[in-house]
């Protein structure tokens, strides 16, 4: 065992940041300290002396580090000091309230063959948190001295000094219970150790160097590369290459060791108070109940939309849009008819109708905002995914897709993180099938006009969308790709009471961006549609738009839709809300007493309306999303594939819906 020179004991103080190491250092050395820099570095070095009985302790404060890798100068300084300068003892200060994290550093220190003593600090904080640590048990488990202390109250320092003396003077061998590499890699470790054995500098512990090399430690790998004869190094190198996952085995060993120590030494009330979050989550994340809860919440959202939103929306449509149209017409009585046409029949009929979405969007955004803020959205995504997993869609998680519930663009962009090209493409292809608020707003507008139970219809459409999503996903995956693996770990944040300010802000932001869209794209499209439907003769039935629209009528007949509805579908490519705007322009919403909804009721059968809605839900995405797809796939080929795929799916869906619904209606 190490002999102290005279009665001087050299102590190195180690520990992770924020564990009270400086406090301990100051308590021990008081004014007898000297601050400088580590040689050649800008990192602060503190040394000091401490006297107790007839002993002198020379204490050096090592930089605070979480571990002892070669990745930062602080860590290199700490470990080089311990290895080269060989202090008599290393005292590692550990935060009792964060023992798991702190034990990682201990696990790295124990193999270094310098005696370690643990200063178990902040036991008062730990006690407050209900964590009780049996220091004797910990001592026995670790095989090193453990000194409980509360540095902020100056408690434990004398104990520490006494223990240091004991360790130095005790002749017994130092046998800490250090972590091992994971069992299946033991032989690899031994091979490396035997290869480097004769060439490791004497002050470096051989096993530790071998372990570090397997871990991929830059500094030590370089050191051995220089010191080993070429053939030996080549052998070592080939072993490293063969076992690239050895770093996992090394770290694994440490964590298994930490878990064992914790299990032994910490006495925590087993379950603790069961948080409300956990209680709620037992239902919310249950594969079956969770899904039902989600379905229920969606149904509630739609019900609120129709109970509150729709009446308001109709009021706005008839009284605000209609009145504004009327007033403007009168104001423009002297203006050329095309100006009136442009503004009233174009802009107001188009954009105005879309602006009636306001109450509907307000409710959607409010629900979305509340669910997000409360913390439920994470569970919704989680449950959806668990359900897919239950359906046998193993490894095919589509978490990025759930970003699509506000808008498809972020979900397409979100696929960027998926590395596997195939999995990414698959996800991009089906991303547009996730209903966005724009699509839902269109549905929310039309559904109450035709159905006495719009909540059920809307809910059904949503379920249909998701069903198609799952089926397409399965199909594309099996047939086109070969089954990719996507796996995620998700942290479910605690539920908390909604912060109304955050929610209001989020609603406000979304409404603003909607207004911006309305004022630009939708306005532009409305005016263009009006222009094309007014030229050349002023009569809509002979206009360019009509001529073009009639080309689509053969397809329309299969779905029970006339050319105006078909054109409306097409304009939804620019922005989903345009479907309504176009209908507003082509049906002359502002001209009549009733709103657009009432007009449509006279021109469409419920079966056709349903078909229209189905197509709307499954149709090709808006141009912004298509642009995002082109950007992310970087290929016109795949962009075209995605557009064609959705076109086919939506038309097939529409035709089937119309034909079946018409049959049932008779």
């Amino acid at each position: 065992m190490t002999e102290s020179e005279g009665k001087l004991i050299r102590v190195a103080l180690a520990g992770q940041p924020n564990v009270g190491k400086s406090t301990v250092f100051n308590l021990l050395t008081g004014l007898n300290q000297h601050v400088g820099n580590w040689p050649g570095k800008t990192i602060e070095q503190k040394v000091g002396t401490c006297h107790y009985k007839d002993w002198t302790f020379s204490v050096i404060d090592l930089p605070g580090t979480y571990s002892l890798t070669a990745n930062s100068p602080e860590e290199l300084i700490a470990r080089e000091y311990i290895i080269k300068e060989k202090p008599d003892v290393v005292v590692v200060i550990v935060d009792a309230a964060a023992l798991e994290r702190n034990l990682y550093l201990v696990s790295e220190l124990l193999p270094l063959s310098v005696p370690v003593i643990i200063g178990l600090n902040m036991i008062d904080v730990a006690q407050q948190q209900g964590v009780k640590i049996e220091s004797h048990v910990l001592e026995a488990a670790l095989g090193v001295s453990v000194v409980p202390m509360v540095a902020t109250k100056g408690q434990g320092m004398r104990e520490l000094l006494v223990r240091i003396q004991d360790v130095i003077c005790d002749g017994a061998e130092y046998t800490p219970n250090a972590p091992d590499i994971r069992a299946d890699h033991k032989d690899v470790l031994e091979r490396i150790e035997s290869l480097i054995n004769d060439h490791v500098p004497p002050e470096y512990p051989r096993t530790w160097v071998a372990l570090k090399i397997l871990e991929g430690d830059k500094q030590l790998t370089e050191m051995m590369c220089l010191r080993l004869p070429k053939e030996t190094w080549d052998e070592v190198y080939s072993i490293i290459k063969q076992h690239e996952d050895a770093c996992v085995a090394v770290a694994s060993g440490r964590y298994a060791w930490i878990a064992r120590m914790i299990r032994a030494a910490i006495v925590k009330p087993r379950a603790g108070p069961i948080l409300l979050t956990d209680r709620l989550d037992r239902w919310a994340t249950h594969p079956l109940w969770g899904l039902l809860i989600l379905a229920g919440i969606l149904a509630l959202t739609f019900w609120l939309t129709y109970a509150i939103g729709t009446p308001l929306q109709e009021l706005i449509d008839v009284y605000v849009v209609g009145t504004v149209a009327h007033l403007v017409t009168m104001a423009l009585a002297t203006a050329p008819s095309w100006v009136t046409g442009l503004i009233v029949d174009g802009a107001i009929n188009g954009v105005g109708t879309v602006l009636t979405f306001f109450p509907i969007l307000l409710i959607f955004f409010a629900m979305l905002g509340i669910l997000e803020d409360v913390g439920y959205m994470a569970r919704a995504a989680y449950v959806m995914d668990r359900f897919m997993h239950l359906m046998g869609l193993h490894g095919k998680s589509f978490l990025p897709l759930f970003l699509g519930f506000g808008c498809n663009v972020p979900s397409v962009l979100g696929t960027r993180v998926i590395e596997s090209e195939r999995a990414r493409l698959l996800t991009i292809l089906i991303a547009p099938l996730v209903p966005c608020t724009a699509r839902m707003a269109v549905v929310a507008f039309l559904a109450p006009a035709f159905f006495t139970a719009p909540t059920i219809v809307t809910w059904g459409l949503l379920a249909l969308s998701l069903l198609v999503l799952m089926l397409s996903g399965l199909f594309i995956n099996k047939v086109v790709f070969k089954g990719e693996h996507l796996a995620f770990i998700m942290e479910l944040p605690l539920y908390h009471l909604p912060n109304w300010r955050t929610i209001t802000l989020s609603i406000w932001q979304r409404l603003l961006s909607f207004l911006r869209k309305a004022g630009t794209i939708i306005l532009a499209v409305s005016v263009i549609v009006w222009a094309l439907s007014a030229l050349p003769g002023g009569d809509i039935e002979t206009s360019f738009m009509a001529r073009f629209g009639r080309l689509l009528e053969p397809v329309g007949r299969l779905i029970g839709l006339d050319w105006r509805m078909m054109v409306a579908l097409l304009t939804s490519f620019i922005a989903k809300e345009n479907a309504i705007a176009t209908l507003g322009v082509l049906f002359g919403a502002g001209d009549s007493e009733a709103g657009l909804a009432a007009i449509l009721r006279t021109t469409l059968t419920p079966a056709a309306a349903l078909a229209f809605l189905v197509i709307q839900m499954l149709f090709i995405p808006c141009v912004a999303t298509v642009a995002a797809i082109k950007q992310e796939t970087n290929s016109w080929h795949w962009t075209t594939v995605s557009v064609v795929f959705l076109l086919v799916v939506s038309l097939v869906g529409g035709v089937l819906t119309y034909q079946i619904a018409s049959l049932l209606a008779h």
């Binding site: 798991e100 994290r101 990682y104 994971r182 299946d184 996952d245 996992v248 085995a249 770290a251 694994s252 964590y255 298994a256 930490i258 878990a259 914790i262 299990r263 956990d278 989550d281 994340t285 979305l368 997000e372 803020d373 913390g375 959205m377 994470a378 995504a381 989680y382 995914d385 668990r386 997993h389 193993h394 490894g395 095919k396 998680s397 978490l399 990025p400 759930f402 970003l403 519930f405 506000g406 808008c407 663009v409 972020p410 979100g414 993180v417 998926i418 590395e419 596997s420 693996h485 996507l486 796996a487 995620f488 770990i489 998700m490 942290e491 479910l492 944040p493 932001q509 979304r510 961006s513």
Partner: protein, 88 residues
């Protein structure tokens, strides 16, 4: 320990931290350290890395449906490969 975590995760789907901690019989704090370590090694990848729930500077803030502080990690190709040989 780490390989068991990788193995469980690699079976696919979404796993939540609480559930994983129970399966491995460790505390959530230790599990998070393990996850951070695997992320550092490149076997897990933290998605929405900039998402600390602070939507102010975020380009997709106005449309993001998953706000809030829940972190999400994805198993990388490397992680998946490493998880496989240890099927016992």
């Amino acid at each position: 320990m780490l390989h068991r975590l990788l193995h469980i995760v690699s079976s696919g789907g979404v796993h939540n931290i609480k559930e994983l901690a129970q399966q491995l019989d460790v505390s959530e704090g230790l599990l998070e350290s393990m996850i951070d370590e695997l992320a550092r090694m490149g076997y897990l990848k933290l998605l929405n890395a900039k998402c600390g729930g602070d939507c102010k500077g975020c380009p997709v803030a106005s449309t993001c449906a998953i706000g809030g502080s829940g972190r999400v990690w994805m198993l990388t190709e490397a992680g998946h490969k490493v998880a496989q040989p240890h099927l016992r």
